[in-house]
Structures are given as structure tokens and as C-alpha cells.
């Protein structure tokens, strides 16, 4: 840590835990709590504490970064009390103090790293120490490599937890006398593991928030698929049997399902992009380690990246599966639209046929009206002629009127033609 004096004693046991910062909750800082318990040298500014508990020395530091809080609890012994090089110390007193200090930490950490340290004179001896430790504790070696002048190993075995990212146990064998630059390198490694804990913690949290959705993907997908199949079966019925009301209902439900899947796919993609950001950050951090493999073991950097990528996979799978369902729903929507189009066309043809018939009826009616019109005009002319004949001819008026009827009819036809020509 730049500008901050780090303890000069030898680290033996380290515990790192990361948490998400809840801006709404104001709680007493864990380091302050530890100060109230163990006293020692506390710096509020750097949020760190150094103290002694009997022959064991303790150090605690709180860091806040990228919306996360990480606590480093380190325990060790002074040089004079350090056990000989090239041997595995008894971790009991250190672990006891770490366990005691952990009580001050908040609950529900997103990720934890437990780290034990030993010191060795050379690489060969360091490898032998690590193998000895692994054998004696009944653990397995998940990954190992040379990082910052130390062998760093991730342990697996009986104490493995269900979530590989949530809690990890590491063993470090520092090569050299553990003094000067060697001590600095060990502390640097510890703080880099703090950064690693932030990334893995954030990824764990993101994954655990979505775990139920991932677990439910199969069931939800099956149920939606059945629903799609039912709709498609309905659509396969003869077009005459599908009522516009049914189509309207199918269209409404399909639109709801489509918009819901669209929301889910885009939300999950958002989370996937967040996860990719964490992966990039972690890759940049691990690149700085420039880790060299030990024997035929997979390096810690590769193992960490693999674990993170494994946690990212369900995000991508969920998005792809919901998008596949969306494609099917698009087909359903297209079918419904096509059916609606055909129905509309049919209705339009029916309307056209009906208008045509109406037009024929209107034309017929018009013709009848024209004929009536001719008759009415003829009657009217005959009546007028009769009045004239009665005045002029007296007794032969009826004969003249009868003789006038064909003239009246012809005149009426003539007038009617002239009048209708104008329209």
C-alpha cells in the first residue's frame, strides 16, 4: 500500500473477505471494532490496525473499491519468534486469532480467501514444503504457480464448498528469507488477492442474485414451448374455424410473452456485460502476476479465470435460450398477422360483393323510377291536354284526349331523355 507502513513481522495466516457496500446502511467499521477489542495502533485515515495478542501479531485493514468493501486480517510473528526456514509452522495460534478477529466482520461475505504462509530458502525446497503441507492436511492441489517470488497454490479436497468461487483456501511458500523485498512481495500479493476478492465477490453476488432464474430456465422454457406448440396447433386449424376474437386473444398473449422474453433477454445481457467487465478487470490484475506454472499444475491465474468464466456461462446461455424462444414467438406473431390479413381480405371481398349486389339493385330501381317518371309525365300532359280540349272542342274532347295519349307518351320519353342527358 503506497505511503503506508506495513508490519515488519512475518505473515503466517491471512483471511480476506469482500462485501457489497450498502449505501443505506451505516454500520461500525470492522477495523474500528477490532481496535476496541485488541487496542494497538489504529489509523482511522488508512482504516488499519496493528496490534499484539500475546506472542502473535495482528493486522487488519479495510478497503473500499468499486462498490465493494474488503477486509484483510493478517496474523504472524516477529522475526525472533519465527520458526526455522524450510518448515511448516504450527498454524494453530495464528488460526485461533484469525477466527477471533473474523467475529468483528460483517456476515454474508461475497467471497473469502484464507491464506497460509510458509518460508523457504529456494524453489526446490518450497515445492517440497507445499507438497508436504498438501499431503499432511489431506488436501489436493487445484492450481499452483510462481507469483511474486513465492509459490502460490489453491487447495481443493474434502473441505471444498459447493460454490468454488465463494470461498478459497490458498497456501503460499515465500522463497528467500522473507525479509526486505521478499516481505514487500508477500504483502503486495496479499493486497492483490484483496483486489481478486473484490472481482470474485462481485461476480459471486451477481451470479447468486440470478441463480434462481438459471435454475428455473429449463422449466420456464418447457412451459413456454408447450404454450407456443398449443398456439401453433390452434393456428393449423382451417382458416374458417379461427374466429377474429380467437386471433385477437392469441395476438395479445403472444405480444405479452414476446415483450416479457425481450425484457428478460436484455436484462440478462446487461448482467452478462457487467460480468464481462469483471472478467476484464480480473484478467488485467492477473496479468500483472506473470505467473509461471509449477510442474504440470494449472496456474492460479488460469484457474481463477476459468472459475469466473464458468460463472458467466449461465448468463449467456439464458440470453440465448430466451432469444431462441423469441424467434419462435416472432413466427407465431407473423402467422397471426398473416391470418388476420387473410381474414381482413376475405371480409373486404365479401364487402365488395355485397356492394356490387347493392349497386345492381340500385340500377334496377333507377330504371323502374325512370319508367314511372315517363308515365307520370305522360299522365300529367294528357290531363293538361284534356283541360284544353274540353275548353276548345267540348263534345269531342274525350276523343281528342284519347288520341293525344300516344303523343303525351312520346313527349314524356323525349323530355325524360333530355333531362337525364344532363346528368
Amino acid at each position: 500500500m503506497k505511503g503506508e507502513e506495513l508490519p515488519g513481522w512475518f505473515l503466517h495466516s491471512v483471511y480476506i473477505a469482500s462485501y457489497q457496500i450498502d449505501p443505506e446502511k451505516e454500520t461500525q467499521d470492522a477495523v474500528e471494532k477490532l481496535f476496541n477489542r485488541y487496542r494497538g495502533t489504529y489509523s482511522k485515515e488508512s482504516n488499519s490496525l496493528e496490534f499484539r495478542a500475546g506472542s502473535v501479531s495482528g493486522y487488519a485493514k479495510g478497503l473500499s473499491e468499486k462498490g465493494s468493501q474488503v477486509f484483510l486480517l493478517a496474523v504472524g510473528s516477529a522475526e525472533t519468534e519465527r520458526k526455522a526456514l524450510d518448515s511448516i509452522p504450527s498454524y494453530e495460534p495464528y488460526d485461533e486469532l484469525v477466527e477471533d478477529m473474523k467475529e468483528a466482520l460483517p456476515e454474508n461475505s461475497d467471497s473469502t480467501y484464507s491464506l497460509r504462509l510458509a518460508y523457504s530458502t529456494d524453489e526446490k525446497e518450497a515445492g517440497a514444503l507445499l507438497r508436504c503441507y498438501v499431503r499432511n492436511t489431506g488436501r489436493t492441489l487445484k492450481s499452483a504457480g510462481f507469483v511474486r517470488g513465492s509459490i502460490l497454490a489453491t487447495l481443493g479436497g474434502p473441505r471444498d464448498l459447493s460454490s468454488p468461487m465463494a470461498s478459497k483456501e490458498l497456501m503460499t511458500v515465500s522463497i528467500g528469507d522473507g525479509l526486505g523485498k521478499g516481505a514487500d512481495a508477500v504483502w503486495t500479493l496479499c493486497f492483490e488477492i484483496c483486489c481478486l476478492a473484490i472481482y470474485t465477490g462481485q461476480m459471486n453476488r451477481l451470479h447468486s442474485q440470478r441463480e434462481l432464474m438459471f435454475d428455473q430456465t429449463d422449466a420456464a422454457e418447457r412451459s413456454t414451448q408447450l404454450w407456443i406448440n398449443e398456439i401453433l396447433a390452434k393456428m393449423r386449424r382451417p382458416i374458417e374455424e379461427i374466429q377474429p376474437k380467437d386471433l385477437e386473444e392469441i395476438l395479445k398473449e403472444t405480444t405479452i410473452q414476446f415483450s416479457r422474453l425481450s425484457t428478460m433477454a436484455s436484462s440478462m445481457r446487461r448482467d452478462y456485460v457487467k460480468a464481462q467487465g469483471l472478467l476484464r478487470g480480473m484478467r488485467a490484475l492477473l496479468k500483472k502476476w506473470n505467473e509461471r506454472p509449477m510442474d504440470d499444475s494449472i496456474t492460479n491465474s488460469s484457474a481463477e479465470m476459468d472459475d469466473l468464466e464458468n460463472l458467466m456461462t449461465p448468463f449467456r446461455d439464458f440470453t440465448e435460450r430466451t432469444e431462441a424462444l423469441m424467434t419462435q414467438l416472432s413466427t407465431v406473431l407473423d402467422s397471426v398477422r398473416t391470418y388476420l390479413g387473410i381474414q381482413q381480405q376475405k371480409m373486404s371481398i365479401m364487402e365488395q360483393t355485397s356492394s356490387k349486389e347493392q349497386l345492381v339493385r340500385l340500377v334496377n330501381l333507377q330504371e323502374i323510377l325512370h319508367k314511372l317518371e315517363v308515365l307520370i309525365v305522360a299522365v300529367y300532359l294528357t290531363e293538361m291536354a284534356r283541360i284544353v280540349f274540353e275548353t276548345l272542342l267540348h263534345e269531342s274532347a274525350n276523343l281528342a284526349t284519347t288520341a293525344f295519349i300516344p303523343v303525351a307518351l312520346l313527349t314524356s320519353v323525349f323530355i325524360s331523355r333530355i333531362l337525364h342527358k344532363k346528368h
Binding site: L212, M213, Q216, A219, A220, S223, I256, R260, M264
Partner: protein, 162 residues
């Protein structure tokens, strides 16, 4: 901790309204779950009573409960009344349900919202028809079942979450 505000009014279509779900969560997340369930139950009860009146439901039989549930979920393709017989109503919720969608998009806890709001609200709806109705949540997606079965049966008026 402040007392639970009982004057809150949740719209009947809260399950498709991410804004309402989000407000509900941020308002009640730190309250004891039993207290919040009482609020949700009362909201369901009020809506159920109003629907009972609108639909002209007479009596306190399970058919009335089914009718109220169908009215509330009429536009919801993922929740269906599957069975109304032998003194019980089975409401099944499966697929990509609206609560699942809202929780994913707004980053809300799905299990908490089902338990604090969803189930007591539906129990309230049923209780509007018959106050002695039990709602048993035997199959729940939050515990890994492929769907949520809401079983309404006349009993002691309890919400049973085994």
C-alpha cells in the same frame, strides 16, 4: 424500525408493474416479513371484495374464489386456474412469469417478493369470498419446483408455506 404503513394501496395489476414492485421492496425490505404479509393480505382482500361485488358473486364457495382469481389474471398467459373441484381451486403459475421478469429487470429479490407480496395477496383475494380459505403453497419455484401451485381450500384461513 418504523411501523408498517397500512395505508398503502397496491394496484390490482401489481404483478405486471415493475415500478410498484420496486417501490414495495424498497419500502418494506427491512420490515419483519409477517408484518408485510399482513399488508399484502389486506390489499388482496380489498381488491377481492370489490371484484366479488362487481362480478355479483353470491355465496362463499370455491367457484366464487376461482371467478375472482380468473378476473384478476384474465390477461396473464403464465397463470391459469387449472382445476376447480372437490372443494379446491388450483392456480398454476409457470413459464416466464411477470414477477420473474420484473425482478430480473429491476434487480429485485424474486423469492422475497413472492413470499411477502404475491402469496399473501392471493390469499387475501380468496379470503374475500370465504374468510376460512387456506392457501397452500406446496409447489414453489423458489425451492426448485417447475411451477408454483396455489391451492385454495376451505380450512382455517391460513397461508401455508411448508
Amino acid at each position: 424500525m418504523e411501523a408498517v404503513d397500512l395505508s398503502l394501496t397496491i394496484p390490482g395489476d401489481w404483478f405486471v408493474n415493475p415500478k410498484v414492485l420496486s417501490e414495495f421492496y424498497w419500502k418494506y425490505k427491512d420490515h419483519p416479513i409477517e408484518e408485510i404479509r399482513k399488508v399484502s393480505f389486506q390489499q388482496g382482500l380489498a381488491l377481492g371484495r370489490s371484484l366479488k361485488e362487481q362480478l355479483g358473486i353470491k355465496g362463499d364457495g370455491i367457484e366464487g374464489i376461482a371467478a375472482v382469481l380468473k378476473a384478476v389474471l384474465k390477461d396473464e398467459p403464465t397463470a391459469k386456474v387449472m382445476d376447480v373441484k372437490e372443494g379446491r381451486v388450483l392456480l398454476r403459475n409457470s413459464g416466464f412469469c411477470p414477477l420473474m421478469t420484473a425482478c430480473l429487470s429491476m434487480n429485485l429479490p424474486w423469492t422475497w417478493l413472492c413470499s411477502a407480496l404475491g402469496w399473501p395477496f392471493f390469499h387475501g383475494l380468496g379470503s374475500a369470498v370465504n374468510p376460512k380459505v387456506n392457501l397452500a403453497m406446496i409447489k414453489r419455484r423458489e425451492k426448485g419446483d417447475p411451477y408454483c401451485d396455489h391451492i385454495f381450500e376451505i380450512g382455517q384461513g391460513k397461508l401455508i408455506i411448508p
